[in-house]
């Protein structure tokens, strides 16, 4: 009897375990959002549509040291990140950008690849998910749904255009995770894909209006087409100057809408960049950063000096004294050019609104900080041109194009970062006109460039500074384009189109051996991971 009792006891004992504790290992998320709980209404659909936009600032704007901006500026002739004493050797990364001696193992290039394709992935995912939404259940119309898809497709085309600019031959993928190892397509094929996607969708977009701040509007689509056709000869092998003029004109004429009334050049030399630039009449596409709305604008770390410069600008941020202007790029401006006075920090630096000097902290520790137009060891008596390894804390003119305003300004740090502005359409059209004309300026082209340039000279200086059909040579057009778009992340593309990127020499940079450097190598790690990726020629 006793044994039987024990028996029962055990059965109960283990049954208890089985029932009470079971073997349930399902996971519950609390702080993370599961995809199955999303896409329920219009706002949620927009939130998903806009994820690639917020991601884009990481690789396109100069906030990122691993992005498109870094590669497009630091490999060109205007901006460098030289070693300054103990600072900024950084494994020689920036030195190799300047010398064009990069390899397939550049970590910053891998990060850029990854960031840009993550952007493509976000767009692909958004398109896939939105197309599965039942518009009725989500409370939106079929038209609204389609306009979100069109906007996403144009954005995706923009990603491919920029990826094609850096790497040329890349896969074309429009689905998440499919195919597993996509194959490399030729640059021509990528170009054709971008063109087709833009042409199919641009007309479905809404015209630019204040409510489309930071979004893909029809004007933005036209601007993309203008850029695509301007570079068509490089990217596809076939010049498309007339198409470039067509789409530049559509923007210029306001066919795609306008941000503020009608499209026109901003006469304020700081207007497109200042902290109220969401109202600039020439801006077409911009990242609407807003400190007050918790999407801050943080360019400081690369263009701003150390914390001693806080007092010079009366701001609360500081940076790491990274990017400087190459001396020849600063010399490219006439002294009477308002841009030279307004867009740079140069010479002795004072505490804001006073004549009390800002003091250095490195080579000029506790001595007045004076930005000089050379990059060399002046404290050690070095003369000449200097080099990428000879910088000091005060080397080179500095960035002042985007100004945050002082910390008491009500719009302090509200600047948007501009991607397309009307002036670029003027330059695109003018260049297309001149190239159509065999490289000789036409009067229409001269008028366009002069309309931009005249903003930066006094009335008395202007007659001697204005271009004529004879003075606006191709070299001069490239130089003026450089002066106008300095710091805007476009210089490498321009140098390539003008044939100067590999053949040119500037400051510490000598001409390259051949042209393969006009596209970057596919990062080694990616070639390793995807056997169907082909390395670019020459690497």
């Amino acid at each position: 009897m006793k044994k039987i009792i024990y028996n029962k006891f055990f059965i109960c004992f283990f049954a208890l375990i089985g029932i009470v504790s079971c073997t349930d290992l399902d996971e519950t998320t609390y702080t993370e959002l599961s995809k199955s709980n999303f896409y329920n209404n219009k706002l949620e659909i927009i939130q998903a549509t806009l994820r690639p936009f917020t991601h884009m600032q990481a690789w396109l704007a100069f906030t990122g040291q691993n992005g498109y901006y870094y590669h497009n500026e630091l490999s060109a002739d205007q901006v460098a990140w030289p070693q300054k004493g103990r600072h900024a050797y950084d494994n020689g990364d920036h030195i190799r950008q300047h010398y064009h001696t990069w390899t397939t193992e550049e970590s910053r290039l891998l990060n850029t690849w990854s960031l840009m394709w993550t952007g493509v992935g976000y767009v692909n995912a958004a398109i896939e998910d939105i197309q599965q939404v039942d518009p009725e259940a989500a409370g939106i119309t079929q038209e609204e749904l389609e306009s979100f898809v069109a906007e996403s497709k144009v954005l995706r085309a923009y990603h491919y255009m920029k990826i094609m600019d850096l790497w040329g031959n890349v896969p074309i993928v429009t689905q998440v995770g499919m195919p597993e190892n996509p194959e490399t397509q030729s640059r021509e094929a990528v170009f054709a894909f971008v063109e087709q996607e833009l042409l199919e969708n641009v007309e479905k977009l809404q015209p630019l209006s204040p409510q489309l701040l930071g979004r893909i509007s029809r004007a933005v689509g036209y601007a993309m087409l203008s850029e695509l056709y301007l570079n068509a000869e490089v990217w596809s092998g076939e010049a498309r100057w007339a198409d470039c003029i067509t789409y530049s004109d559509k923007v210029i004429n306001g066919d795609g809408g306008a941000l503020a009334g009608s499209m026109m050049l901003d006469q304020d030399p700081l207007g497109p960049y200042n902290n109220t630039n969401e109202n600039s009449p020439e801006n077409i596409f911009q990242f609407p950063f807003s400190r007050q709305n918790d999407f801050g604008y943080s360019w400081a770390s690369f263009y701003m000096g150390f914390s001693n410069m806080r007092d010079a600008l009366d701001v609360t941020y500081s940076g790491n004294n990274a990017f400087v202007v190459i001396p020849s790029a600063f010399d490219a401006y006439q002294e009477n050019d308002i841009r030279k006075q307004e867009w740079f920090l140069f010479g002795p630096q004072y505490k804001y609104g006073t004549t009390e000097p800002i003091l250095g902290t490195e080579e000029y520790r506790d001595k007045p900080l004076v930005y000089v137009n050379n990059i060399r060891r002046n404290t050690e008596g070095q003369t000449g041109e200097g080099s990428m390894t000879d910088g000091e804390e005060n080397s080179g003119a500095r960035f002042h194009k985007y100004r945050s305003g002082t910390k008491d300004d009500e719009n302090y740090l509200e600047n948007d970062y501009v991607i397309y502005r009307l002036t670029e359409m003027y330059f695109n059209k003018a260049e297309a006109l001149i190239r159509q004309n065999g490289g000789a300026a036409t009067s229409e082209a001269v008028a366009l460039i002069n309309e931009s340039k005249s903003r930066y000279f006094s009335e008395e200086d202007w007659p001697s500074e204005m271009y004529t059909t004879s003075s606006l040579t191709m070299d001069e057009l490239l130089a003026e384009r450089g002066r106008e778009f300095i710091f805007e992340g476009k210089r490498r593309t321009d140098l390539i189109r003008f044939g100067k990127f590999t053949t040119g020499a500037w400051w510490d940079k000598t001409p390259d051996g051949d042209d393969h450097l006009t596209i970057y190598p596919i990062p080694y790690r990616q070639v390793q991971t995807n056997p169907n990726l082909e390395q670019n020629p020459g690497y």
Partner: protein
């Protein structure tokens, strides 16, 4: 107690083990149990033997187990050491056993009175080893288990319980890379690295609570550490066994001994070595030599390093214990207070708490209830300790305090000199606080019932909770706020963290002797649920410092958009771990031993396709010295061979890694319903690439061991050789982009192999009269190889890390390559200097070039930071009432990257402060710092880690005081090393993937001197 072996319901097969089959197997077990109990026979009482048991000092020993060999008959001695037992016949043998004492056997031979004296057992062959869900006698242990008991603990100040056994166990590395900072923790690693991204520290089990919190353990409450080193031993802990298991047993009340104990010490840290930075006088010399300009002399003399040192630091420890026990119950209550005062200002930790346990039996010890409760309250001041790095930038001719309006470049705002681009630590001390209050609790209870002789069921439950509250404040006068984001207002932050774990573990055990066969079987179930909840908030805009962080809503940043947005966050996660386990211990003739176990465990953390895993183990031992053919020899008094193989897992990864979740991407303007102004909403996209196949990392380990004793066990030891292979290592792999959205996937690919040899030796060198000299030595060799990182789908050629840092962003120091050993330094090879002091390095093609000519191809493996050999030596001397412990510890065959010399032995950094060697040994360097093998040095060292002298007073037998001991102890007394000419401590991080880097952590290494006292009454 020796026979507390455990039973296993089933063999170590790897069949899938569902809940149902477990129940079925339990029924089978039950049947077995019933059969066994039917056969078990009781001895028939014939003669009664009485007697008394004493220890070598003649004191009565209560609680000694007395049993008749070969039967189940047994009893225990009472308060006065007396016993009485019925024996079946004259040839019966009585066996007297007591923990820590030699076992004595006496044949009855017609005696009615047998008095015995038990000697302290030096070799502890009969020590009880805790093996997880049970104990075993040392003799029957078949796996690699090391034990350190209280008498062998490191003495003196203990910041973490692991300090007690630092260097004592071969293969266990305990490193304090942060020096003796009371708020830094020790990193622990057993037998090398087993994971890249998962947990790499051993599982801590405190009195049966898996995942026990070390904060709940204070030094005087610990009875012993038992370290399960090999796979066969730790497989019973399944998915948490990869890094070994450390079982901590706390002290319990003893039957018949009611006593109070009081223990106390005070201690002080002294700076052991100070970095040789340029003093104010030397700085002025440099100015006089024209190397730097005159404007750099501010006319003051400040040694900022000395200023940051708290010369008056004083730590103390107080512990009061009441313990005792009656016939059926015992208890122990321990209260403690500890104040640890770091060598730095504003750098201390105050702890107090208690641990109480209680144990009661009924029904002739068949029913047992035991429970313990422990708490720890601690208040940590985290403000200081991290400021010593300022020495590298501080101009030694500048003052700390300055009057407003003075002629210094900075106007000395609020009384403190404010250097440009730097901070003044004393201004921070005055204007900031950073405090953590932590409260840790555990409570557990275990009910055991012996249903029939040898068959016990038990249910164990525990609740462990860890909670802390952080407070941080920067005042309106803080240097960073004056011109910073907070615009001269105060900034406050508060946060709260709670994590708790609930554990429920019912077990069933059965032990049975059938003739020459002994079986111990164990079966059990384990359920553990853990969760973490956090919230925090921050705000600025406090125009007054009156509220500190006690009125968070006051801060004007709530409405003033010129101030940074207030921060709000909260967080919760949880996970569940469920297991079924069983084990069988079998012995034949008490000479051949076999143990087999299996644990089937599931964790919520893994992918839907791979939640469950099986973790089997088998091990055996052969006591060769008990064989008859060994009777003739006198060399070996003990010789035992062990072989074990076990598979364990690692579930120590973050939660939710296999799920598809959406992550936020920052806010973007949305104009809803034609609004004229935008609202900024979060954007959302894929947070990771999902991996539903995510599974366990699995370690397979084979261990050969040899336990030996010579010369009547005057020399004993253990030799272990192991080879462990950890497969399916988790790592974030680069995926093809396109088509994946995110750049990485967390998946199982790699393999790490560790192999090594461990040797532990103990010797009673001299044991003559009043003088005794014992030596304990432990040493090990280990090799860690990253066997595989890639497969066909996922490829990683190397894992780089160990960032050297800024200025100059010199990149990673260490590269772990597929097929290579772990911890290889990878960089440029120094080739000399140019005439004007520029660096020259070797290029891959054999030429020499300057730093700007170096490319990735020119780098190579230049050293290795992982020590290959570890050794320690404990000498214990006793003469009459004195005892002296001298403990040495060393690590050998590794390189250290000296980043201090790298960055600061360089005069290019002037006028910032530099080492004196910048103008001496390194004066030819005229270029900014570069990383190369120039700064790699041999790291070998031997450290005199502990020197303790104690005196035990002779106390009158009849007096109230039973014990009085005074001692003085010094830790980290001297280091013999060639590293940096002995100027820096060579004990740097030696765990993880990136060992051997001497980072620029200037927290002073200290020698700690303490004086203490123990009283029992």
């Amino acid at each position: 107690m020796k026979k507390q072996k455990l039973l296993d319901a089933k063999s170590f097969n790897q069949k899938r083990f569902s809940k149902l089959s477990f129940v079925l197997r339990s029924l089978q077990l039950l049947l077995l149990v019933v059969l066994f109990s039917a056969f078990s026979t009781k001895a028939v009482a014939q003669t009664t033997v009485e007697g008394n048991v004493k220890d070598s000092e003649g004191l009565p020993l209560p609680g000694v187990t007395v049993r008749v060999e070969g039967t189940g008959v047994g009893t225990q001695t009472d308060f006065d050491g007396n016993y009485s037992i019925d024996v079946p016949g004259d040839d019966s043998v009585l066996v007297f056993t007591f923990v820590g004492m030699t076992t004595v056997k006496r044949t009855v031979n017609g005696n009615n009175t047998i008095n015995v004296t038990l000697e302290n057992d030096q070799q502890a062959l009969d020590e009880v080893v805790v093996v997880g869900y049970g104990t075993q006698s040392r003799k029957s242990v078949t796996t690699a288990v090391a034990k350190v008991s209280e008498e062998d603990f490191n003495q003196g100040v203990v910041t973490s319980p692991m300090d007690l056994i630092q260097g004592k166990i071969a293969g266990l590395s305990v490193t304090r890379a942060g020096g003796n900072n009371p708020n830094s923790s020790a990193s622990i690693q057993l037998r090398g690295l087993t994971s890249i991204t998962g947990n790499t520290e051993p599982l801590i089990v405190i009195d049966g609570i898996p995942g026990g919190n070390l904060d709940l353990i204070q030094q005087n409450d610990i009875e012993s550490f038992d370290v399960l080193k090999d796979g066969a031993a730790s497989a019973i802990y399944g998915t948490r066994g990869n890094n070994g298991v450390i079982l901590i047993t706390t002290k319990k009340g003893k039957k018949g001994i009611s006593q109070f104990e009081y223990a106390s010490y005070v201690s002080r840290d002294y700076v052991q070595n100070k970095p040789n930075f340029i003093s104010a006088d030397q700085y002025r010399d440099i100015i006089d030599q024209g190397i730097i300009g005159e404007s750099n002399d501010y006319g003051y003399t400040t040694d900022i390093y000395d200023e940051l040192v708290d010369d008056t630091n004083l730590s103390q420890y107080q512990n009061f214990v009441a313990s005792g026990g009656g016939e059926n119950s015992n208890y122990r209550a321990s209260l403690y207070y500890q104040k640890l005062d770091g060598i730095a200002l504003e750098n201390d930790r105050e702890e107090y708490g208690f641990r109480i346990n209680f144990n009661q039996s009924a029904f002739d010890d068949k029913f047992n209830f035991q429970s313990s409760v422990a708490t720890n309250f601690n208040n940590a001041n985290l403000q200081g300790g991290g400021q010593f790095g300022i020495i590298t930038d501080w101009n030694p001719t500048t003052p700390i305090y300055a009057e407003p309006g003075g002629d210094l470049n900075n106007q000395g705002q609020f009384g403190y000199y404010q250097p440009t681009n730097l901070y003044n630590p004393f201004s921070e001390y005055a204007n900031r606080f950073n405090l953590r209050k932590q409260y840790t609790f555990s409570g557990d209870a275990k009910v055991t019932y012996e249903i029939v002789e040898g068959l016990k069921i038990a249910a164990f439950g525990s609740y462990q909770r860890n909670e802390w509250n952080d407070r941080y404040y920067e005042s309106t006068e803080d240097w960073a706020n004056i011109n910073g984001d907070y615009r001269g207002t105060g900034y406050a932050r508060k946060g709260n963290h709670v994590d708790y774990t609930k554990t429920f573990e019912p077990t069933i055990t059965f032990e049975q002797e059938i003739g020459k066969h002994t079986f111990d079987l164990l079966g059990g179930y384990s359920y553990q649920y853990s969760t973490t909840e956090e919230y925090s908030m921050s705000n600025s805009g406090f125009n007054t410092d009156s509220f500190l962080d006690w009125n968070m809503g006051w801060g004007n940043a709530i409405i003033d958009t010129n101030l940074p947005r207030p921060g709000l966050s909260s967080f919760k996660e949880d996970n569940t771990l469920i297991a079924f386990f069983s084990r069988i211990n079998y012995s034949y003739l008490d000479r051949y031993f076999l143990t087999a176990s299996i644990r089937r465990e599931g964790s919520s953390k893994f992918g839907a396709n791979n939640k469950w895993g099986n973790f089997p183990a088998i091990s055996g031992a052969w006591v060769i010295s008990d064989e008859t053919f060994m009777d003739e020899q006198n060399t070996f008094s003990n010789l035992k061979l062990r072989v074990g193989y076990g598979i364990t897992g690692n579930q120590g990864i973050p939660n939710y890694q296999s799920l598809v979740t959406l992550g936020t991407g920052g806010k973007y303007p949305i104009f809803l319903d034609n609004a004229t102004d935008p609202t900024y909403y979060q954007t959302l996209g894929a947070a990771k690439n999902p991996n539903p196949d995510l599974r366990w990392e699995r370690k397979k380990e084979l261990n050969f061991g040899l336990d030996f004793g010579f010369l009547s066990n005057r020399i004993t030891g253990a030799l272990d050789v192991y080879r462990r292979t950890t497969e399916d290592l988790l790592y974030n792999y680069t995926v093809p982009q396109p088509p994946y959205v995110r750049s990485n996937i967390y998946t199982n690919v790699g393999t790490i192999r560790n192999s090594g040899v461990e040797l532990a030796l103990s010797a009673a060198v001299i044991n003559k009269g009043d003088f005794k000299w014992n030596v304990d030595a432990a040493g090990n060799y280990q090799k860690n190889t990253l066997v595989k990182l890639s497969n066909e789908q996922f490829i990683v050629a190397q894992i780089d890390g160990g960032n050297i840092g800024n200025p100059g962003n010199l990149g990673n120091a260490i590269r772990n390559t597929e097929g290579g050993t772990i911890g290889n330094f990878y960089g440029k090879r120094f080739a000399g200097f140019t005439r004007d002091g520029q660096w020259l390095f070797h290029k891959a093609d054999g030429s020499v070039g300057t730093s700007d000519q170096m490319t990735e191809e020119d780098k190579t493996i230049i050293g290795n930071g992982m020590p290959k050999y570890y050794a320690s030596l404990t000498n214990t001397f006793r003469y009459k009432n004195f005892d002296l412990t001298v403990f040495f510890r060393g690590k050998f065959d590794f390189d250290i990257l000296n980043t201090v010399d790298l960055f600061y032995g360089n005069q290019e950094l002037l006028p910032a402060n530099v080492l004196t060697s910048a103008l001496g040994q390194y004066s030819q360097i005229k270029e900014a710092p570069q990383y190369s093998d120039y700064y790699l040095e041999n790291g070998d060292f031997i450290k005199l880690d502990n020197l303790t002298l104690g005196y035990n007073f002779d106390l009158p037998q009849e007096g109230n005081f039973k014990r009085l001991r005074l001692y003085a102890s010094a830790r980290n007394l001297a280091t013999i090393t060639g590293y940096n000419d002995g100027n820096r401590d060579p004990e740097v991080q030696d765990t993880g993937l990136f060992p051997g880097i001497d980072y620029r952590d200037f927290y002073p290494r200290t020698t700690t001197v303490s004086v203490g006292l123990n009283v029992n009454f």
